[in-house]
């Protein structure tokens, strides 16, 4: 069993659900984003998802898109981001940090060397929304060597056979996208075709894999988090936290986290 899975399962022994909070590295500045990450870790979030910004984040809605574009004004580098995360990981050994970015900045850095460098920085897992499993053979191999988890995503559109295939390949945890669309408040018309109820979708995944399940996209209230008790292990909160931060700064973001704990 991977270190990440062990960590999540141990934490879950005492808690009905864990929190994964998301922060865009460099938004609104590098220092302020790091201060927010420290606040969140001090607050005891179990998992911190750090998004290294990309100019074209095609799976992100308006809030995160805007934050990424603002963050890029700071000209962040992935090398410095890894260094900054290494300091956080050292100071907060009771939590785990995951790095999320789109493929291109990581490809540019070197997809073969990233897993080892990220693991050395104390990062527990990597989330790359536009890297599909079938094109990731080399990357997965580098992750195994570096003992870092590539975190795969499942969605309500994922057919059963593919769900099985992804679950079989996964380790550490799975990221279950809660609904169609992009991150944040619903911004596009999601069409007429019926979506599977979240309980049924999560139950189907639960029946396919014993791995811990994180659920994200559109989660922003304590009521939503509570509704996930018993169905998932981790609630992922991204845009909701960002919107709170934009509204009232770090203190509002922390208040939001406390309200999520209910």
């Amino acid at each position: 069993m991977s270190k990440l899975q062990t960590f999540i399962e141990q934490q879950r022994k005492e808690k009905p659900i864990l929190l994964m909070t998301h922060v865009v590295y460099g938004y609104p500045t590098i220092d302020e984003s790091l201060a927010l990450m420290r606040d969140l870790l001090n607050e005891g979030v179990e998992l911190l998802e750090v998004q290294f910004p990309f100019s074209d984040p095609s799976a992100d809605g308006p809030s995160i898109l805007h934050a990424c574009h603002q963050a890029l004004q700071q000209r962040p580098t992935l090398a410095r981001c890894l260094e900054d995360i290494a300091l956080l990981a050292e100071d907060f050994p009771a939590s785990r940090i995951l790095l999320m970015s789109y493929l291109n900045p990581l490809y540019r850095y070197g997809l073969e060397r990233l897993p080892a460098d990220a693991a050395a920085a104390g990062i527990a897992g990597l989330i790359i929304p536009d890297l599909p499993l079938e094109l990731a053979a080399d990357f997965r191999h580098s992750c195994v060597e570096a003992r870092i988890e590539p975190i795969w995503m499942l969605t309500p559109e994922t057919p059963p056979a593919r769900m099985q295939q992804i679950c079989d390949a996964a380790s550490g945890m799975l990221y279950c996208v809660s609904r169609r669309g992009v991150t944040g408040a619903d911004s596009h018309n999601s069409g007429n075709s019926q979506q599977v109820p979240l309980e049924d979708y999560l139950a189907a995944i639960r029946a396919t894999t014993p791995l811990p399940l994180g659920v994200g996209f559109g989660i922003r209230t304590g009521v939503q988090v509570k509704a996930l008790h018993g169905m998932a292990d981790i609630a992922v909160v991204g845009s909701g936290l960002l919107d709170a931060f934009n509204h009232g700064g770090r203190s509002a973001a922390l208040e939001q986290v406390r309200s999520l704990r209910g």
Binding site: D56, Y107, M153, V177
Partner: protein, 411 residues
């Protein structure tokens, strides 16, 4: 050109968020069945003929030829398609595929607005709902096209993020598709994006090259010696070039937008001059204009339709193998070529297509008079009236607009 599981050499592939995977696979299956279904292909041909007016002519240019004193010049007249550009070939093909798949709604991105208009036209004709994403900056440059999209019943959504051009519109179209992957079809307008789009769009556009082949044999008894096409996303270039890919005697030349010069943000040169580098974004691997951190860069061209940060993986690959020679023409050369075609042949090319003309004008004087050069006029220039009026500093255009506005405000 057949891909190897979606790849052309080191480019292409399907790098999309998981939410789109099932819909992308369904499209791949539908396309693989349709491409070998003679009924479907006949339906596409019929619609190309009866709705878009194909075949488009191959027009000899005696005056331009005399003026240049080199090879003989012929123009492939994609400007004479319904909607005024080659974009029609692709929307007819994909539109009929959408009907076949039973989807009711299309999403499109557009730069110059030509693909947007073509999409709105086919949506109206086939009874599909249509939403078009267009960068707010491009809307400012090409409002007349936006006007027609709306008149045709399409919803036009201005994209205000990033540089507010084609690439931002493409991101936003992907986001829309993610919200309704099984109900909507993403009608991509060029030979870019995840598989099967590059291959499928290039195939629908290959009618251009197949016609050029037949027309060349008929009109001058041999294949052309050189073919020039402008390269934005790469669909008109792939369309005219791919049917000649195995004819080594035919030189294939792609012309990119040199813009104001080689400084970052001033051009859209991804393949020539070593300005682009390999990357993976917007669903596929190709040569992108990007910085050392892998952030995509801003681009510029006098022609909105060439103002794109990536390029078809097919052309990136053919550039790798050397089968296609890539070059660039800057804004000034393009205006000069545009005017030459107007004055000498009475043809108004799109500013995009004028890049192909500019690239050819550079080489033709040095070629021997028995050589034949075909230039793809991918679209007509009427849509560029505002940009051209400003570039040629027409004294009457501004006052005309002021008077028009004053009348409208009074009414």
């Amino acid at each position: 050109m057949q891909s190897d599981k979606g790849f052309f050499g080191r480019f292409g592939g399907s790098y999309i968020p998981e939410i789109l995977h099932a819909s992308q696979q369904a499209l791949l299956d539908a396309w693989n069945q349709a491409r070998v279904d003679s009924d479907f292909l006949a339906e596409v041909d019929r619609e190309l003929q009866q709705y878009s007016g194909r075949p488009t002519p191959l027009t000899p240019c005696p005056n331009l030829t005399r003026e240049l004193g080199g090879a003989q010049v012929f123009l492939k007249r994609e400007d004479l398609n319904h909607s005024g550009a080659h974009k029609m070939n692709n929307v007819i093909g994909q539109g009929l595929l959408v009907k076949r798949m039973g989807k009711k709604r299309i999403i499109a991105e557009t730069g110059a607005g030509q693909h947007g208009v073509a999409s709105a036209l086919i949506a109206a004709r086939l009874g599909l709902e249509c939403t078009i994403y267009m960068g707010a900056r491009d809307i400012e440059r090409q409002y007349p096209n936006v006007f027609w999209m709306k008149q045709l019943g399409a919803t036009v959504v201005p994209v205000t993020s990033g540089g507010q051009t084609l690439r931002d519109a493409l991101d936003e179209a992907l986001r829309d598709w993610s919200a309704d992957p099984s109900g909507s079809h993403y009608l991509l307008g060029t030979a870019c994006g995840c598989a099967p789009y590059p291959e499928m769009v290039a195939e629908f556009q290959s009618v251009i090259g197949r016609e050029v082949r037949a027309q060349s044999l008929q009109q001058f008894g041999t294949l052309p010696d050189s073919i020039y096409a402008c390269v934005g996303g790469g669909s008109n270039a792939a369309g005219i070039m791919l049917p000649f890919i195995d004819d080594q005697s035919v030189e294939l030349v792609g012309v990119e937008a040199g813009g104001r010069g080689p400084a970052p943000g001033d051009h859209s040169i991804r393949l020539s001059d070593d300005l682009g580098s390999p990357g993976i974004a917007q669903g596929f691997a190709t040569m992108f204009l990007q910085d050392d951190q892998g952030q995509l860069m801003e681009t510029h061209s006098i022609a909105a339709g060439l103002d794109y940060v990536g390029v078809s993986p097919i052309l990136a690959h053919l550039n790798d193998t050397g089968r296609v020679r890539m070059t660039a023409a800057n804004d000034d050369e393009v205006m000069h070529a545009f005017q030459a075609l107007l004055r000498l042949e009475g043809i108004i090319p799109a500013l995009e297509s004028s890049h192909a003309v500019a690239g050819a004008l550079r080489d033709i004087p040095a070629m021997s008079p028995d050589k034949k050069v075909v230039i793809n006029i991918s679209g007509r220039g009427d849509k560029d009236i505002f940009n051209v009026a400003s570039a040629v500093k027409d004294a009457e255009f501004g006052p005309f607009l002021q008077r028009y506005l004053a009348r409208e405000l009074q009414a």
